[in-house]
């Protein structure tokens, strides 16, 4: 066991007490030349270690079982088998969020794509009628042309009413399409709750496993894996708090122009 682990909490006080007592006894026996006694103390020491190891492993196993039961990953009875595990439920829920946001985005874009030509037509017709109207005011219009304009203005009013009704309808549909925020927000909050719960349970399992490591004197060498930026890491959630991330298009432009772009 390394020195750095000496201060770790967790070992049973009973165990540490025995450890201390027997270590000093061991030293005494070796000093006194009583090697038979020394060997038997070493055996006792290893027994103490084994006993506490079994106890910790037992606890770890029980907690693991508990955790698995909590998340219903391992359905035992028909009822549980029927019910989805919370985990696969969580991924279903997130898929639902993707589906809902996709639907809302497409619905909104459908309506926008329907509305844009209406707005264009209104604008074009209004421009033409304005020009005609000004010709009339300048008295540049023949009576036949005026009669034609008269009819045209009439038709414009009719289509203006219909088109603005259609636009209004599209806009209120777009408004309604934003209800996904409420629904997906609730789902995401539920999943966030589950993730927190899982994290807490995993953390207590890790603490327990560290007791086993202590008893067996295991030291893990965990390599730090660096994320490859080439693959792409997606949107930065807390861009403002980081130096290695740009905070917007202006930052990108500054960076690129500093590179001579």
């Amino acid at each position: 066991m390394s020195d750095s682990q000496n201060n770790q909490p967790g070992l049973d006080p009973e165990v540490t007490e025995k450890l201390e007592q027997q270590t000093s006894e061991l030293a005494e026996s070796v000093n006194a030349g009583d090697y038979t006694r020394a060997m038997s103390i070493i055996n006792e020491l290893s027994d103490v270690r084994d006993q506490s190891l079994y106890r910790e492993v037992g606890q770890l196993t029980r907690s693991l079982h508990e955790a698995i039961r909590n998340f219903q990953i391992d359905p035992r009875n028909a009822e549980q088998k029927e019910a989805l595990s919370k985990m696969s439920d969580a991924s279903d829920r997130l898929n639902y969020v993707v589906e809902m946001t996709n639907q809302a985005a497409n619905r909104t874009m459908d309506l926008v794509e329907e509305s844009m030509p209406l707005a264009h037509t209104m604008r074009d017709e209004a421009i033409e009628l304005r020009d005609e109207w000004q010709r009339l005011r300048r008295r540049e219009m023949a009576p036949a042309e005026f009669r034609e304009l008269y009819g045209r203005i009439d038709r414009f009013f009719v289509s203006l009413t219909a088109d603005s009704d259609a636009l209004y309808h599209s806009l209120s549909e777009i408004l309604l399409a934003q209800d996904f925020q409420d629904l997906t927000g609730q789902v995401i909050q539920k999943v966030t709750g589950l993730v927190k719960e899982v994290e807490e349970n995993l953390l207590s399992l890790v603490v327990m496993a560290s007791h086993v490591d202590q008893l067996t004197g295991t030291i893990h060498e965990i390599e730090e894996k660096e994320e490859s930026a080439e693959k792409g890491v997606g949107p930065q959630v807390k861009a403002d708090e980081r130096d290695d991330v740009v905070s917007g298009q202006d930052d990108v432009d500054d960076l690129l122009s500093s590179l001579g772009f």
Binding site: N102, G232, V233, V245, V246, Q249, V252
Partner: protein, 123 residues
């Protein structure tokens, strides 16, 4: 002017397609990652490529490198429109030969400005 839009999300492709149409570019095609885009680029005579970075399969960064390494495609103007916002990534994209870099979320004005800037340079 024939433009290929590459993004794994169909909604984002649709947004870019609409914005390009408003800018007067009506001849656009779509692909959902680099693996689909590359053969299209090789056979399709495109004048401009708009690509996302983070996509399953072949990423936009790999697509950028593949295009620059291809004798026939190497001069194709490329605009990256992406949520990737690390300085290292932007520098890497610039070094790999990207012509413009737009971070999501973006505005129509930004997209317009970057596209116009790219065309100003090549014409």
């Amino acid at each position: 002017m024939k433009i290929l839009i590459v993004d794994d999300f169909s909604t984002m492709r649709r947004i870019i397609k609409n914005l390009l149409r408003d800018l007067g570019f009506t001849n656009t095609d779509e692909a959902d990652d680099g693996n689909t885009a590359l053969p299209m680029l090789k056979s399709g005579k495109y004048d401009f490529l708009v690509t996302d970075w983070n996509m399953p399969g072949m990423s936009g960064f790999d697509l950028l490198k593949a295009v620059r390494a291809d004798e026939q495609l190497k001069d194709l103007p490329i605009l990256m429109v992406t949520a990737e916002a690390k300085r290292d990534q932007i520098i890497a994209a610039a070094q790999a030969g990207v012509n413009g870099y737009v971070v999501k979320p973006f505005t129509a004005a930004t997209l317009k400005e970057k596209i116009e800037k790219i065309f100003e340079r090549i014409h």
